[in-house]
Amino acid sequence: MSATSTTILNLPDQTTAAIPKKNYISSEHGLLSWLLTGDHKRIAMLYLISITFFFFIGGAFAGLIRLELLTPQPDLVASDTYNKFFTMHGIIMVFLFLVPSVPATLGNFLIPIMLGARDLAFPKINLLSWYLYLAGGTLTLAALVLGGVDTGWTFTTPLSTHYLNTHVVTTASAIFVAGFSSIFTGLNFIVTIHRMRCPGMTWFRMPLFVWSHYAASILMVLGTPVLAISLTLVGLERLVGIGVFDPTKGGDPLLFQHLFWFYSHPAVYIMILPGMGVISEVVSTFSRKRVFGYTAVAFSSVAIALFGFFVWEHHMFIMGVSNYSALVFSLLSMLVAVPSAIKIFNWSFTLQKGSITFETPMLYAFGFMGLFTIGGLTGIFLAALGMDIQLTETYFIVAHFHFVMVGGMLMAFLSGVHFWWPKMTGRMYPESLSKLAAVVTFIGFILTFMPQFIVGYLGMPRRYHAYPPEYQVLNVLSTAGATVLGVGYMLPILYLAWSLKYGAIAGNNPWQATGLEWQIQSPPLTENFTEIPVMDHEAYDYEWLEHKTQNEVTTVG
């Protein structure tokens, strides 16, 4: 390979290369061998298939919402139907896609390998997680098929408890069950990271991907039970009228929002932190450099997890909370933005003096960094108390969290899926087509959500079925962008499926990356390593890798 080549792709000779005969996919056959597996890699693949399925259902609802909003009049569907659309979109995307997306697929697949372990600490609980997820997903689909639910994903009381006649309890149980899937995954990760690191794998030699999953797992384990409690109370209030949230019985409807956001704000970090882990790996690999300020990036993940628990009231600044408590929560919300800024700058400076190439995962990572910067800085608007009064509950907030969740998290997820696709399947995805998809996604995204910031400041409320005609230009732009975005998301599913059979053989380490996962065969063996690895170098040590490769070459020669 010449030094001036613009790619680091290092594939084995395609005429002789073959997928290793023995790997985790070929080790056993039959449906049951998948459904009863304890192998973290197989469970990760099960998750990948199921979350992709739910992503496209959630995406279909997004498409219907944008189609309705093409015109100011409520002309496509009835109001109740529209309300069910955005409720389903929110519930599926948040609880069945974003929360499990990176941790349950990439995290599940990679964390044991990155730590040099054979599997997660509790393989059977890992499988149970997937079944709980599936049960939650099935219940959600049941609620959908039986007639839907129109609470919004936030289940605001007393609307959800006393004023709606849809499948609220079914949906709440679905989220309750899916929540336990998340708790078990988090627990599994925490125990694995504490107890199953291979010899030499100290905390500060772990890849940053593992650090960010550790932080996210703490949030999952501590936060999700509160969501379970608040949804249980909503269910009990509906079924037997216990009156915790009912003002006519002396309950406090605001209490529900405190409980709900106590989980649902940290949930944002559950979603974004694993994505940040992906970006650290990808940026390091494609600039051939260790991540700038490793410890700062590692601790900023922990800081986000810590501060993330004490900012929930910023969702309620206009709801008649005490002005002084609002002050405290505004200040803490400002503080939680700092670790994210630290990460962005550290990733940028990782590029400095690197040797940068621009494969698809890197393009998605750049997309993440740009869009997450916008998403993060518009969060400052909302954390500023006075500004929040104008912006909250409008399309501005919709645009803000889509920049963070879709522009940030989904970009990171796609970056990670492309990056580790050769490891997971043993085959490469088609490079130019996937670059096209990354660019299309980016353009579509900007076009969809930029206009929403403007229309939000103009005052257009969220969750509106109809809107004043002067907002139409911006809504048309947004719908046009959503169409482009839809194409951008359809492309990967097509070419990734194609690559399963026709993709080039990837070999062990197509990116010449340093992680332990790249030092084993692709796809890995069921037991990951043939002998227990010893970690004798820092994470992202490209010099070690160079020497290792040199040694191998001499041995073969």
């Binding site: 800085l377 509950e393 103009l458």
Partner: protein, 347 residues
């Protein structure tokens, strides 16, 4: 010239019909917009900085020109710089935002009070003069208006984007917001908290008028009875005046001059008698027993609407003497034999 004229026309039309910013129609709007532009500036500078770093490094250190990476551990100085500078900017934003928040949610003492009741899916406004409006609100310009709001069912949110104010309207609790309109015109009113089927139809218009036009409007749309007078009628018809006579020997405290005073409670606490207090005493009397009185007041929960409660609050606000209560006592006793139907009382 023909083409450029068409283009000019199109541009003018497009710019006037699809604004990027809402009109500024209240005294608070310029303050809100100043912070907004500051934050847009911060965002643009931050974004440009990140893009320059990514773009610059990507160009300068791409593999073709920089084939071998140089390993760098990190830099404490740089870490400190990009921790402290964003923190500083965020803290400035925090202080600025907090000042704006307190300005929006602290009504001036001379403001005119209008009551808003939200219900699925309409806004009812009640002016002190007894005017009622549905999904509309008429206000004079140049006068601070305070809205005291409550919901009869679920959470709603009263949003006036051109005035840059918004406040959640909550069941069982009064919330307030204030504004001072500056330019006559009609403006949007939205419910911004999702409240069920017709959430997006819970919209209306705010009409800001010159003070003399507003005066004309109030005269034309009066219901003939002020909110306080309506409250007095309810006070009598619910039998409140049977106990709250103002006689020191009676079993219930005098209500004259109660509003705005501090009340010594039986459990030792001191409570401020504001609108929320009065409403809550009527609905949950056992929770608010004044010192020296027995907890004998029955609850009026379920017997009186939010509108009725507002009228009572407004009545007690203006009650300075018990003279009329004592005068009407005999009348109200005979009223109990044949209670009047609400709404049938002649102005």
């Amino acid at each position: 010239m023909g083409i450029s004229e068409v283009l000019w026309q199109f541009l003018v039309k497009w710019l006037t019909n699809s604004a990027l910013f809402p009109r500024e129609a209240s005294t608070i709007a310029p303050y809100m917009d100043a912070l907004y532009f500051f934050l847009i500036g911060v965002t643009v500078v931050g974004l440009v900085l990140v893009l320059l770093l990514i773009g610059g490094f990507s160009f300068r250190y791409r593999k073709a020109v920089h084939p071998v990476a140089e390993q760098i551990e990190g830099s404490t100085l740089l870490e400190a710089i990009w921790t402290i500078i964003p923190l500083g900017i965020f803290l400035v934003t925090f202080v600025w935002g907090a000042l704006l928040y307190f300005r929006i949610y602290t009504p001036p003492v001379n403001s005119m009070n209008i009551y808003i009741v939200g219900k699925q899916w309409m806004w009812k406004a009640e002016h002190p003069g007894g005017q009622h409006e549905i999904n509309e609100l008429h206000v004079p310009i140049g006068q601070p208006i305070q809205l005291t709001m409550i919901s009869q069912d679920v959470f709603h949110s009263y949003s006036l984007p051109e005035f840059r104010v918004k406040r959640e309207v909550i069941p069982g609790r009064y919330t307030t917001v204030w504004f001072q309109a500056t330019t006559p015109g009609t403006y949007h009113l939205f419910c911004t908290q999702y409240c069920g089927t017709d959430h997006s139809k819970m919209v209306g218009e705010i009409t800001a008028m010159l003070p003399e036009d507003y005066k004309k409007w109030t005269e034309l749309s009066t219901s003939g009875m002020s909110l306080a007078q309506n409250g007095e009628r309810i006070f009598a018809s619910m039998g409140c005046n049977a106990c709250h006579t103002g006689n020191a020997s009676n079993r219930a405290p005098s209500l004259a001059g109660l509003y705005g005073s501090k009340v010594q409670m039986a459990n030792g606490s001191i409570q401020l008698a504001d609108a929320a207090y009065i409403r809550d005493v009527i609905l949950n009397p056992s929770q608010h027993v004044p010192a020296g009185y027995a907890p004998i007041m029955p609850t009026y929960k379920g017997q009186i609407s939010e509108d009725g409660l507002i009228a009572l609050v407004e009545y007690l606000k203006q009650l300075n003497t018990n003279y009329r209560i004592q005068q009407t006592q005999t009348t109200s006793v005979s009223d109990q034999a044949a209670p009047t139907t609400p709404g049938m009382v002649k102005p």
